[in-house]
């Protein structure tokens, strides 16, 4: 059994990724788009596209009725939620099922269980998976959450019980700052997830963030596809991910993989998921703690696709259609090294503030071992309404050193102009001696901010380039005498 037509309930690079997998699997794809995305590449990547509402996500990509209407009107038989938006919304998954649409992801009950950090944690404790010491504030008032923090012992991490991605997350080091940080966390949690419930856990200083890709099918099989290290983060969002982790000994890797599979089995996990852990220390004495389960495809899934040589989205469709996992644990191998860099429209020098505007120039690098997943094109507009991630650069190579060299080379051939991005920052990051040495932790960027944020004065070549890029007879834009030959010059302008 396979699907006839799949609705992709997402936008940007992941919608394009899913449309490609559909095409290669012989499945028709239907994109949805908001008014702001009329000209976005994901609309053209699918076979069909349906307008589902105005720009704000709440009225488009987060609108369950609008998405179900689109699926019905195009006679889809399945929905792929991507990541973010409705991907971990159990009631969306349930509504899909009730409407006769297969939800490409875990069963609603599993999403629900994993969506509550509290329930997930209890389940893991029962399954013997180590967890970070932490408490749930029964009393969710400011005072109640503060009291919980005091019971765990400062410093603590206060986070949204219902979400991820750093939204609604705050490090609280003392009761004084808690007074402003707890309400801020709650506000963000409400804005992002519609639920302000907060969870408090012990802050492990300078931990590594490790996660294991797991995959289950409806026939009771569960496999893992090795780890990803995602320690390099800013504003609690991942910036760089790699596999294998430079921190793991074979013994720790084995224990981590076993814990992830145990966690997935305990959760009754089906389809692609990720079990996240914190790692304290390195080498033989390293200890890991269960953090949470991401009940969806991850942004950084290409890292695993590269080292394991698999297609996770294709496998999602096979499993969602009731098929068996396409791999046994024994057949899966890890080969080489992969690194993903997330290219964001943001200004690292200004607190990583998201940027919006027009991409005056946007050219992607290519070559052996280089994969770019992106949702933008040159001339397109980056809107204020959605996540500022422009592209993911995933490199793979025989060794970690070569992967770093390849990533730096690729980023130096990834010009994006018109909006500030983190490309220069990513290069300085990859080139940092501590990163090269594999000594990563989740506060790395904060601690090395000054080294990572220096920017040089323009060299002569840059000044000369700016000077010759000026029209000789004045500075008017669109001087037709100097415009390049335009092969589509006679294309009729409708719809532009």
């Amino acid at each position: 059994m396979t699907f006839q037509r799949v609705l992709i309930a997402n936008r940007g690079e992941i919608a394009i990724r899913i449309a490609r997998a559909c095409r290669e699997s012989g499945i028709e794809s239907v994109a949805v788009y908001s008014e702001a995305d009329e000209k976005s590449p994901h609309v053209r990547a699918a076979d069909r596209a349906v307008l589902i509402g105005p720009a704000p996500s709440s009225q488009s990509y987060l609108s369950i009725p609008a998405i179900l209407d689109a699926a019905r009107s195009t006679a889809c038989d399945a929905v792929h939620p991507g990541y973010g938006f409705l991907s971990e919304n159990a009631s969306f998954a349930r509504t899909c099922e009730q409407a006769g649409l297969v939800f490409v992801g875990p069963p609603p009950a599993v999403i629900e269980r994993m969506g509550s950090k509290i329930a997930a944690r209890a389940l893991m404790i029962a399954a013997g998976v180590p967890v970070v010491p932490g408490v749930t504030a029964e009393d969710q008032s400011d005072e109640g959450v503060l009291a919980a923090a005091e019971r765990v012992g400062f410093p603590v991490l206060v986070k949204a019980s219902g979400g991820g991605g750093g939204k609604g997350m705050r490090v609280v080091r003392d009761p004084a700052s808690a007074r402003t940080l707890i309400p801020a966390a709650r506000r963000e949690a409400i804005a992002a997830f519609g639920d302000g419930t907060l969870y408090v856990e012990r802050l492990i200083e300078r931990p590594r963030h490790l996660e294991v890709q797991v995959f289950g099918d409806t026939h009771g099989n569960v496999v893992h596809l090795f780890e990803r290290e995602c320690s390099i983060q800013r504003r609690h969002q991942k910036v760089m991910e790699e596999s294998p982790s430079p921190a793991l000994t074979p013994a720790t890797r084995g224990a981590l993989e076993a814990a992830a599979v145990a966690a997935a089995r305990a959760a009754g996990y089906v389809n692609a998921g990720t079990v996240e852990f914190l790692l304290e220390g390195t080498g033989g004495t390293a200890r890991f703690y269960f953090l949470e389960v991401n009940a969806r495809l991850q942004v950084e899934h290409p890292v695993t696709e590269a080292v394991a040589g698999v297609d996770l989205v294709r496998a999602q469709f096979i499993v969602a259609a009731g098929g068996h996992l396409p791999w046994t644990q024994e057949a899966l191998t890890m080969r080489g090294h992969a690194i993903e860099c997330r290219v964001y429209a943001e200004d690292p020098a200004d607190g990583f503030l998201p940027q919006a505007g027009q991409l005056l120039l946007y050219r992607e690098p290519s070559g052996p071992g280089i994969r770019v997943d992106s949702g933008v094109v040159e001339g397109g507009t980056v809107s204020v309404h959605y996540d500022p991630m422009l592209a993911k650069l995933t490199v793979s190579a025989e060794s970690r050193d070569h992967a770093i060299a390849r990533a730096i080379s690729a980023l130096r051939a990834f010009p994006i102009l018109g909006i500030r991005t983190n490309v220069p920052f990513l290069i300085r990051l990859l080139d940092h001696p501590e990163i090269r040495a594999g000594r990563l932790h989740t506060r790395f960027i904060e601690e090395h901010a000054s080294e990572l944020l220096t920017s040089p004065d323009p060299p002569l070549e840059a000044l000369a380039a700016a000077a010759v890029a000026t029209a000789p007879q004045g500075l008017s834009t669109g001087d037709s005498a100097t415009a390049p030959a335009d092969p589509w010059g006679t294309v009729h302008g409708w719809g532009r």
């Binding site: 940027q355 996540d387 994006i416």
Partner: protein, 153 residues
Amino acid sequence: MGRILILRASRGEYHVTLSEDGRVSIDGVTIAAMVSAPGEVRAGETGHAWVASSGELRWVFLDGEVFEIEVQPEGRRRRAAAGHGSLSAPMPATVVRVEVSPGTAVGRGDTLVILEAMKMELPIRASSDGIVKSVHCKPGDLVQPGIALIDIE
């Protein structure tokens, strides 16, 4: 015999002479440069830059660094800088809260307004000590960059 331009980057100003044969003289140092393809410039022996224009601003990508350089013909006046003492949104955003009102005394670094964009809270902070003169926004407003939110004197 060549056009004269003034270039301004974040930390300096440069006087440039462009000659028609592709040589560029920058504060007396000469380098060859030419457009090699749409949006691409070859400069010097080994420089490969990408360039895009927006009004008088040139964005230059060279060896993984991005430079924002303002280019003006010699003699043209620099555009007046944005009004002193007024604070604006760095990008289109929604106002979440306004922490001050006209007459409030503020210190450098104090949070004046909290905006939200892309699901992130963005605090707008005072860049110097002063007194709030006027407030031009209220919670719920969608504000555009470059438009004053708060004036301080």
